[in-house]
Amino acid sequence: MSGYFKELFSGTKSLAVGLGITFRYMVKPVVTLQYPHESLQMTPRFRGHIELIPNEETGEPNCVVCGMCQKACPSNCISLAGEKVDGVKGKVLTKYILNFTTCSLCGMCVESCKFNAITFSKEYNLAGPSREAYVFDLKKRLEDKKQ
Amino acid sequence: MITRLKEKLSALNPISITETDHAAKGYHLDVAASPAQVVAMAEILDQEGFAIEAVTGVDWLGEAAAVAKKPEVAEGEEPVVETPGEPPEEQMEVVYDFSHSGIRPLLRIVIRCRINRGTPELPTISGVYPGANWHERETHDFFGIIFTGHPDLSPLLLPEDADFHPLLKDFKA
């Protein structure tokens, strides 16, 4: 019988304590970010989709079309092409397509690159009307960015 | 513990029983058994208080052919021409992992069992370890190995009407 009352009192007390905690949190300031009105600054190591790095002097991509990124990619989402131009060491990039629909953002491509040619973008607001919108032409993106 | 276990398992006359270096391999005792011995071994391990970790398969397609071929011939030497004989049967392997949670450091035992690839059958241990039920079903899904006496070998992870076994080396999606 005493156990009955003991449990009754301890139970009621535990419920009251719970209410006290939620009330305390209720008067605390909110912790959420009002997303479309405010947005976050991504950390420097944030791994977005990849982006070509332009040469500091010429503004042309650093890429020499060695194809290491293509080989390293586990999901075959990179396809690139280049051509030989006289007077330039290596090849010159003509096409760099990232099929972002299959990319898993693992970063193997960036790790495998020895020419400082690709990096992660900080973009995370990605939405689009179709699958095709996610087949990125990185060379074109770089050119658009330059302007 | 390990010596006692070795004695007990040796009584069953397994094909081989070797102690392995844990640091290099990740397990302590490697037992190769024949299909008929598996259940008896599981019973011994059960009595000793081992827990079942996993059951899985390995498809050794092409291994028999590779073994039949002479090992690589050093450069310059005349390759020896083999007389074509009876092609050896392709094999599959079922691997059982057991561990003992009661002793420190942990004791891991691997039991391997070779079966013919053409007739992949061996008795189930789900009567000894109910936990083997799902692992064997999964192995049946992936390799088509039939565990005789298993209560329900319908596909577990694959779709219920799946009639393919994806982890076979000759499976092409």
């Binding site: 419920l15 950390t43 970063g107 | 391999k25 970790e53 390995v58 936990g131 577990l156």
Partner: protein, 372 residues
Amino acid sequence: MSDLARSQNQETFVLNLGPQHPATHGVLRVKLTMDGEYILRAEPVLGYIHRMHEKMGENRTWAQFMPNTGRLDYLGALSYNHGYALVVERAMGITVPERAEYLRVITVELNRIASHLLWFGAFVLDLGGFTPLLYAFDDREKILDLLESVTGSRLTFCYFRFGGLYNDVDDDFITGSRAFIKRLRSRMPDYHNLVTNNIIMIKRLKDVGLISAEMCRKYGATGPVLRGSGVDFDIRKNEPYSVYSEFDFDIPVYHECDSMARYMVRMDEIEQSLRIIEQALDKLPEGPVMAEKVPKIIKAPKGDYYAAVEAARGTFGIRVVSDGTNTPYRLKLRSPTYSNLSLYEEASQGMLLADALALMGSLDLVIPEIDR
């Protein structure tokens, strides 16, 4: 049919729980044969998110499979990274620099806390309490911020490499981790007062969902499930890997075998993980984070290798069979919840629906890891 049904000779019906159901946390389906609200048989139906990672492993190079490990258990991705890195390092005979080992421990333990926090919230949500989920998320978010600042991603981490780490941490991470330890310690009493001591929780979890140690052994259940059944078993202590033997921490063990015991194990593990992180931060040595003698193209020597780590949900074992080429010949992923869930059919027999869902919650299921 169980004795319960036969003795009462009543009509039974089949309730299809899932694959889309609020309590199954993903795409798990459980076929329940019910007698009123009592469960006669609960048969989990798996495979709704099966992706055949093991076959993918056979088609990718050793290094390319690393991101896959993060997709198995998306809540404790780093433990899985660790397991895979360990097995390949074991095969190749690579020794990892000290600093990398310490950082591995710190990040894995942070990840473990994040996983337990999410479980805590989701478990209380299963029991009908919504608010603790949001509090737990608030804390988890801090961990994700920390991990994002070093790994670059927030969920499917891929931070470990064979022989070390992807990159080194900065001072912000160290101070951030210390601040986080302080913050979480100050919030744990709130969690306990709000949830653990709550009479409704106690009534729902005490003596409900009994799983005996023997049952765990027969089914191969590990992790908090096993520790809640009174077995002092943790890979970090029983088969020490990495630098865990250098830390002073306890393995929480509860002997009640009920849902409450499993709950308490996880809550105590959060505190133990904080202890480990604190010690690791204190002892963190200087040095490189990547071993020097790692070949560019990984080709594990012929043979088979096994490694196990203590993931948030139990023992994650990984067996690789190598034929000496640059891809694994066979890759077996032994996921803990697969074994933990397999005892559900036996454990849930004769339970009320609400209690059975509490039991399911206390197993801490992550479906992609079960289906692989």
